[in-house]
Symmetry: C2
Subunit: 372 residues, 2 copies
Amino acid sequence: MTAHREYNFTGGMPDPASFPIEGLVKSAVRALRRVGGDGFVRYPGDHGDLNLREVAAVRFLRSHGASVSPSDIAITNGSMQAIDLICRAYVRPGDIVVTEELAYVGTLGALRHYGTNMVGIPVDKDGMDVEVLERRLAEIRDNGGRPAFIYTIPVNQNPTGAQLSVERKARLIELAEEFETLIVEDECYGDIFFEATGSLAMYATATPGRVAYLGTFSKTIGPGMRLGYVIAPQATMLRILAQRYDGGTSTFASVILADYLRDNMWEHIAETNDVVRRKRDVLLESLRAELSDLARCRRPTGGLFAWIGLPASINMDRLMASFSACGVMCTRGRDFHVDSKDVSYVRFSYAYPTHDDIREGVRLFGDCVRAA
Amino acid sequence: MTAHREYNFTGGMPDPASFPIEGLVKSAVRALRRVGGDGFVRYPGDHGDLNLREVAAVRFLRSHGASVSPSDIAITNGSMQAIDLICRAYVRPGDIVVTEELAYVGTLGALRHYGTNMVGIPVDKDGMDVEVLERRLAEIRDNGGRPAFIYTIPVNQNPTGAQLSVERKARLIELAEEFETLIVEDECYGDIFFEATGSLAMYATATPGRVAYLGTFSKTIGPGMRLGYVIAPQATMLRILAQRYDGGTSTFASVILADYLRDNMWEHIAETNDVVRRKRDVLLESLRAELSDLARCRRPTGGLFAWIGLPASINMDRLMASFSACGVMCTRGRDFHVDSKDVSYVRFSYAYPTHDDIREGVRLFGDCVRAA
């Protein structure tokens, strides 16, 4: 069987039709002329463009009610570069990093690359299980160790869609204090909510220096911009930026996006969230119609992903091969597991494909699951 | 004495008035609409945007007469990111890297960061002294070692302005073969020539795999783009890109610049080189008028820098302090030395300041030198 079409449910890609081409065209004309040559023949420096840092500060204030100085913000090539720099700043081979047991593939790849000893904590609908976390931290301390940091995606967790509850956020901060470790709070999906918005970021409530916060414009605008950021107080920031040897992130891309977001950020986010929410609905309806007996999936309240559980008896190798033959592209659960455990889950990213492709893709998905 | 003005001769910054604002505005409108949302909601990937890789291939073919496949090109955040990735791929702490004795500050910083044992080779007007190089390579081998790589800026060398001669390029390749090491050929100033253009790149003539080639758009367009590239055959490239954890370089900046360069590259280079050549002339005339007795400087035949020798007896600490008090910003010779030797030189970058600022800056420079 050869695939004539592809149904692309991979990657954290936003809706292509929502990418604001005309808005960015207008901003390119305006920002390039305003900044002028002098702004582009200089190096951006490790903190990057001030305009975009100011936008990130405005966003943080509105989302989390806390003022952040632009000097505590550094623009990075997506939040992924920030993760890489943090790994390089904090991890020596053999060091422990604690993370959700199921976590972002990019982070896991970087942690493995730097020889990290990863400790995974189970995740339920309220995020990382802080009781298990406490026990693991105590064990680590009893063995004379201390984690380099605790990495978490607290809202719209990737891949599970979990929302770390307010109580657990508070407890996580307490535990980080008690066990003297840094929290890396990756809020990469922090603008994508379909119902209630998220709770306050830990960065906004913890003691300064306890949390490094990561944000990005990849999920509301597009990963092709390569614009994310890290927020951290000076000592933490200096340690992170000491690892940076790339001359800084593109001023060119930054000033144009900053110009666009200054006027359009919240309207754009509201519009794209509406588009993405409808795609989520199409996915959930299709799953219900095709596979209610075989697949289980929590209703995502934000973010870009559905984490779909399949019967435990299923042969994942054969299933993935048959997806591939059908042109259904999704991500295997194992890829998200800290220990590469072959969990009987797949992750569907629903913001990229069209409504028709979601329906047809899920129909083919259903055929494959049923056949397996 | 307080400085009322600044005369900025630091950094490798091109002429600000030559930055093609209107050309990039036009290309932004055209490229954004042509590429469309789908091109920007995807990750650029480790190799980066194909459009800009094709432009780099066209440039290499015209400059060096050799075809390079875009699949052997990866776009990086300036050539500086490529240097960082190469260090990470090839250097373990304590490893030897051979370089010109006077070399790019950014490269030296990265090499030091990764714990490199740097071996500096003297430079004259024809570039790295290959006879000394041969002796040092033999010594290294006799001690059971082998350099991780030889780093060189063969054309318009930073900071000395040297041009590695054709004969020395051939000899350098032979030595790299004999001593089985990689040449990192950083041609960051490879488009900036005022008289004859440069000789063929070593990448174009050496056995594939012997050389990794670095290029950039920072010096002809602007460092604020953060767009450079590395050219290397597959095995070398995979080793370099295995260190990359940033999701790739901005598609957004890349497609716009590629659109501009496709139609305007050679005309733009000819125009900016003309502007920069005239600034070089103003600098040389001013130096002759103000300081012919005290400063010596080879006439740069390309690039952005004049490497100015001062009397050996001069107190560099006091001199730099008096420059600072006068608002004259230039880079101290010591910063370029592999062993931070306090050579009695300063580097003047002449493309950024205006003609008037060059004249006035050199006049103040002359006062300071004479007073010291």
